[in-house]
Amino acid sequence: MSKKTGREGLKLPVLERLERLDRRYIFIAIFIAVIVPLIFPIWLPVRVSPEVQGLYDSVEKLPPGSVVYFAADFDPGSMAELRPMMISTLRHLFRRDIKVIGACLWPAGPPLLEEGFGIVAEGEYGKKYGIDFVNLGFKEGREAVMVQLGKSFHSVYPADYYGKPVSEIPIMKNAYNFDNTAMIVNISAGYPGTKEWIQQVKSRFHITIGAGCTAVSAPEFYPYVQSGQLVGLMGGLAGAAEYEKLIGNPADATKGMDAQSLGHVVILIFVILGNIIYFAGGGSKKTGRVKAS
């Protein structure tokens, strides 16, 4: 004997069974949809959006030897999306012989930035620490730090991540503030991040800013691209995959896109099924729900 669900409208036993489907079956379906393409990649095509193209073009326009401030404002919680962005943008910057000043406003950020520099700058391009790039580490103070950086890098970061005085670091000898910086590339997982860089730095110091952010926060930042406050934006894993395509180096994000797409297909199927069950049951009128008066 089947349990009464309170939804008298459902005539088909299949739909009735689906309505009472244990959510753990949905988790299993999503797990399978994600893991299978990771093991057997199908290499779905990646289409580059104008926002990601904008960021790529801005980096392309920078003359070799110019200095970029790389704000890695994220932590391991959002590594899945933001690490591929960091790796791709660093690859692009170092390939073009651009000098990178890296720093973080998130306490757990510096080791991630250090790993990125290790893989890309030292491992792939043979760049020298202190000459071609520097990791200034973490600084507490959020918006206050951003504003202060516009006046002096040296007063905000008297020493780098390893404790070496910045006055002794060659790359920092001609880089005092945003006046000597060609662009800010911000990889952001939340607050403080892209929004604060735009509000506090773009409006005050009129420097070019390009960003990469988690998919959750991407819709919030698209208006900034439209207004020209951001030259480009990578949103989530899809944005990272697009950048990997542009630099001709498909990596972690591109591999993840198959799983991302199939995962979404499964979610879409469940959403459509849910709607069919809802409407087959006669909508909200027959569900026995209490309506707010």
């Binding site: 507490e140 918006e143 509000q199 773009k202 998919a215 819709p219 020209g228 995962g263 979610i267």
Partner: protein, 202 residues
């Protein structure tokens, strides 16, 4: 390998919540909270308190004593009798950050975004024109829904309803991006489990 195994165990412990709440999940949760708190505390001490306040203070920058006292006053929150003293430090922080936030929001958001929304109906091409018209209509109708207290009836009601449609589309887009983010996190963990820990994936 040992580090990866510990990380894999903790990942699986967190995933076990999908089956149901259980002690293994709780262990991972409490461990994370404890480790994160300890990490942040030591980081703040080493990177903030020591280089910015303590070291300069003991080396003769005595003006920082004011900052030090204000910091100590924050701890009076733990005493019912003296909790009011912490308001001095909080007032200073709220004032400073409000000042920064207001200037930033006004210059970076309000003025720039209003400017960006002042677009001509004719954008030079059919595609751009459609984009501009959608932007203008969407902006006005959404603002109409939120800000005008006039009863939503007749023409006013129609504009408000149109605003609701634009808002629903934007919420839908936000939800889609949120789902994408969550799936990305799952992909990241599975890549760790099946690539870094068990080398099944190339």
């Amino acid at each position: 390998m040992l580090v990866n195994t510990v990380a894999a165990f903790l990942t699986l412990a967190v995933f076990s919540f999908l089956y149901r709440d259980n002690p293994v999940y709780k262990f991972a949760e409490y461990l994370f909270v404890g480790v994160a708190t300890g990490y942040i505390l030591s980081l703040e001490y080493q990177n903030v308190f020591k280089p910015n306040l303590w070291t300069p203070l003991v080396h003769g920058q005595y003006s920082l004593i004011i900052v030090f006292i204000l910091g100590v006053l924050m701890f009076t929150r733990f005493s019912k009798q003296y909790a009011w003293l912490s308001r001095w430090a909080i007032a200073l922080m709220v004032g400073a950050f409000s000042g920064l936030a207001i200037i930033g929001a006004a210059q970076g958001d309000l003025v720039a975004q209003i400017q960006a929304n002042m677009v001509p109906f004719w954008g030079g091409s059919v595609g751009k024109t459609i984009e501009n018209v959608l932007l203008i209509v969407g902006l006005i109708s959404s603002l109409w829904y939120f800000f005008f207290s006039k009863e939503h009836k007749g023409v006013s009601g129609g504009i408000a309803k149109l605003g609701i449609w634009f808002l629903m589309i934007s919420f839908g887009a936000s939800f889609g991006f949120t789902v994408m983010s969550r799936i990305s996190l799952l992909i990241g963990r599975l890549q760790f489990l099946f690539h870094d820990w068990l080398p099944i994936i190339k």
